[in-house]
């Protein structure tokens, strides 16, 4: 496994080669980042097919915009920004067409079941319990606003700084911060009874 530093270095070398007309150099970048882009897209959209679309579209857009990337920022951060923005577009279009599957209330209804399960201690129920946590996380993420979800996913899963997130979403640092706070509050409300009863 390469260290992050040398990985970024070879990313920029690959970009330079693509810019110089070496079409094969783009393959290096696509193969290196495709899994991570898929994971990000899935965390953003919660939908497998949409995430595959995001992966394709991200690499096509990145290729066309490669001249805009400046070596002083990390290539992966820039790439994930494109992916996050396209995921947002996609989710927005879905919502406009009223295709949202999960809602907050669907999550609420589960609370009692989850409590009941949680009070049954170890054994196979424990596995079931972690399934329940996963479902709850998924439902809560689906209940976030687009901005909250993007900001939270970029901060929590992608490790981007609030400053980077603000840049990606065209928000002030403060607005980005508050989107994350609101997301955390909603997750807390949904998960706290569950996870804190376990410990």
């Amino acid at each position: 496994m390469q260290s992050k530093g040398s990985m970024e270095e070879s990313d920029s070398v690959a970009v330079a080669r693509v810019r110089a007309g070496d079409g094969n150099a783009y393959r290096v970048l696509v193969e290196r980042h495709s899994r991570a882009v898929f994971r990000l897209a899935y965390r953003m959209t919660g939908n497998e097919q949409d995430s595959e679309d995001v992966v394709q579209e991200t690499f096509l857009r990145a290729y066309k915009q490669l001249h805009r990337w400046e070596a002083r920022s990390s290539f992966s951060t820039w790439l994930y920004r494109i992916a996050a923005n396209y995921s947002l577009d996609l989710v927005r279009r879905r919502q406009r067409h009223g295709e949202v599957a999960m809602t907050e209330s669907a999550g609420e209804r589960e609370t009692d079941v989850v409590h009941a399960l949680a009070s049954h201690a170890p054994g196979p129920d424990r596995l079931l319990f972690s399934d329940r946590v996963q479902q709850r996380v998924a439902a809560t993420l689906d209940g976030l606003s687009r901005q909250e979800r993007t900001a939270f996913v970029l901060r929590h899963f992608e490790g981007q700084s609030i400053e980077e997130i603000a840049g990606a979403l065209g928000l002030s640092g403060n607005a980005a911060k508050h989107s994350i706070f609101r997301a955390v509050q909603k997750l807390r409300r949904a998960l706290e009874p569950l996870v804190n009863s376990q410990s």
Binding site: V18, R19, A20, G21, G23, Y26, R27, V30, E31, R32, S34, R35, F38, R39, Y42, R43, E48, V55, Q56, F59, L60, Y63, K64, L66, H67, S130, V133, Q134, V137, A138, L141, R155, H156, S161, I162, K177, I180, F181, V184, Q185, L187, R188, L191, E192, L194, V195, N196, S199
Partner: protein, 244 residues
């Protein structure tokens, strides 16, 4: 110190809060308790399952992406530095010319038409990319909002326009010498608009911006660029041999 707020604890969890909080947590049991509760919640978020991809996922993605990438490669990238691209075009035209000549001299069926075709193809690819870039810059100007406090900074568009003027001149001359008058005339018109952009101050007043927009819109130049671009693409597609 007062107790830490929830927001401070969230920032601390993500490593965006000063050591101050850490020191407080060391000495305050109440805050330590709420931090641990927060930690448990946020750690549990990591369990959000992402479906696994197969072992050949990377290859599959690349195969699909490659199929959809724009066909013209090398020159498209050169076109970021329009002048370099235009200079490279000069080189390529020379190569095409000499290739054509030595081909003739080596006794193959001499064909000035084939020679011309190679040169035209090289020119069309380069001009296609040039137009794409020009369109981006002009569209950005035409669609920029009204300056909020007095002046709008167009220094980026301007630098781009300066580069484009230089490149445009070379393409125009190349087209003219290749006897492609239509392309040459169109590029001549485009050059006048680009010069206008390049010659404005980098901070434009609302009035100046209005004039610029009228220059771009009045000539219908964006529309013409679009039409011409698609013609170029068709000509390029008609000569569908791979580039370079």
């Amino acid at each position: 110190m007062k107790h830490a707020t929830e927001e401070q604890l969230v920032l601390y969890y993500y490593g965006e809060q000063a050591d101050e909080i850490q020191r407080h947590l060391e000495s305050c049991e109440a805050c330590r308790g709420s931090y641990q509760a927060l930690q448990r919640v946020l750690n549990s978020v990591d369990s959000f399952p992402v479906p696994e991809r197969g072992a050949d996922y990377e290859t599959r993605v690349w195969r699909e992406v490659e199929r959809r990438l724009p066909r013209r490669r090398a020159l498209a990238w050169l076109a970021w530095k329009p002048l370099a691209a235009a200079a490279a075009l000069g080189g390529l035209m020379a190569v095409a010319f000499f290739a054509g000549r030595s081909w003739r001299e080596s006794g193959a069926k001499a064909s000035a038409a084939a020679d011309l075709e190679v040169r035209e193809r090289v020119l069309m690819v380069a001009v296609g990319d040039h137009l794409e870039r020009t369109q981006t810059v002009l569209a950005e100007l035409a669609n920029s909002g009204d300056p909020k406090n007095g002046a709008l900074d167009i220094s980026y568009e301007q630098r781009a326009a300066e580069d484009l003027v230089e490149a445009n001149r070379l393409y125009r001359e190349t087209a003219a010498s290749a006897g492609d008058d239509r392309t040459a005339n169109f590029l001549d018109e485009l050059e006048r608009v680009l010069l206008d952009v390049a010659h404005n101050p980098s901070q434009v007043s609302p009035g100046q911006l209005q004039d610029l927009r009228q220059e771009i819109e009045g000539r219908g130049i964006l529309f013409k660029v679009k039409i011409f671009s698609s013609e170029v693409e068709e000509r390029e597609a008609a000569q569908n041999a791979p580039v370079l």
